[in-house]
């Protein structure tokens, strides 16, 4: 045996600020620093972690970009209460719905493991013959269906799919497969008959089709999700950060 560490990524040769960020992230996720309240001051962290202040700041800056922390000058560095405004992510399901005080619900229409198709193998960068979990859900809010989501995940990245709660990401996180980057393609389309009936809308209504491929920190694809959202009820908000295309 080498030593501790069960994660796949090697931390031994990483720069100090990366290690500090990991330590802090874990303490936050373990609830050792619990949401909403402040970290030790930067100067205290220096003593605790045995690093200079510049390095401590570089570590916390990472976590700020991830949305886990936020700093307030003169006050302190705080654990972000509930992970919030999604940067460049969807605007999104539970968020919108809860903001309107609607109850949200998820209906599973498929939960299965099978071998990956040729397309899935290619997109998820899997070895031939690998297994994938296929997860299809209808998202409800206020008793109405609002979206269909079809996710495909490499089978070894998920624990037991029969015990899956409503949050796919939470399950992925448990195995260290938290997605941190990705790409999303959005297009307008007209509802086909299957979609129309699942969403309780007329055929040829407008819908938003979204295809999303997310990846772990090490770049390995985690999740290919193709969704259809009711066009009259949902809009997708994304923050823009330079560089801007000259168009």
């Amino acid at each position: 045996m080498k030593s501790a560490s069960a994660h796949s990524s090697e931390h031994s040769n990483s720069p100090i600020y990366i290690k500090l960020a990991h330590r802090l992230r874990q303490q936050i996720e373990d609830g050792a620093i619990s949401a909403g309240e402040a970290l030790p001051s930067e100067r205290d962290l220096c003593k605790i972690m045995g690093a200079s202040r510049v390095t401590v700041r570089k570590a916390t800056e990472l976590l700020i970009e991830e949305g886990l922390l936020s700093r307030r000058q003169g006050s302190g560095t705080y654990v972000t209460p509930r992970i919030q405004a999604p940067g460049s992510f969807l605007s999104s399901f539970s968020e919108d719905a809860e903001a309107r005080g609607e109850a949200t619900d998820t209906i599973w229409i498929m939960k299965a493991i099978g071998s990956a198709t040729e397309e899935e193998t290619r997109i998820l960068e899997l070895p031939k013959g690998a297994d994938v979990a296929r997860l299809s859900r209808v998202r409800m809010a206020g008793g109405e269906p609002l979206a269909i989501e079809n996710a495909v995940v490499p089978a070894d990245m998920l624990p037991d799919i029969t015990h899956l709660g409503n949050s796919l990401y939470q399950a992925l996180d448990q195995r260290g497969n938290r997605p941190v980057t990705g790409q999303q393609k959005i297009r307008a389309a007209l509802a086909g008959s299957t979609e129309a009936s699942l969403l309780s809308i007329p055929e040829n209504s407008e819908i938003l089709r979204i295809e999303r491929l997310t990846r772990r920190a090490d770049g390995r694809p985690v999740e290919l999700t193709r969704s259809a959202y009711r066009g009259e009820r949902y809009e997708f908000v994304s923050e823009l950060r330079g560089p801007f295309v000259v168009l």
Copy 2:
């Protein structure tokens, strides 16, 4: 008179790394460092700009996030050749079209200055009674219309709208009003009769409606654009960076 500086934003009290970033950005845009090639080394920049290396790096990091620069360890810091893959921006008009070898064109359908409506005043954070430029275009590719764009810009941010080329952003840039952040809302819709005829598609075809509000570095709104894209021809790609919503 105070001194030099014709810009509206006050640079006097900004931190050094902000000022350095501005100086570098200008030199790059003036072509003094010309695309594709390397900046002076960080240690040389320290002498030239009279700052420490940490500060110089913080400045170049800003420009890297903007996409103007990129660093290669052991080699140097380079001016990014053509501003490229847009992070979280549209995928986009000329880009896609040119990738397919289609000629792109723009037809102006309106270019006017008038006083802002109540809604425009609010969204663009203008004083009451301020003037705005309204710019409407149809985007063509391969001889076909592909999108309608309606932009509203505070009149004082644009030079002479009669001499406006095809690139709104280029014109904005000339007056130091380059947008660097923004928010974009995307939804699916069905084409109304006006849109259908401008885009040469049947009524009730699927279209993508996009509303975009961009801002300058100082946070002032620059441009409110509402567009309609032909749904069968366009899809919007956006990169995702954490934090991810748990959904």
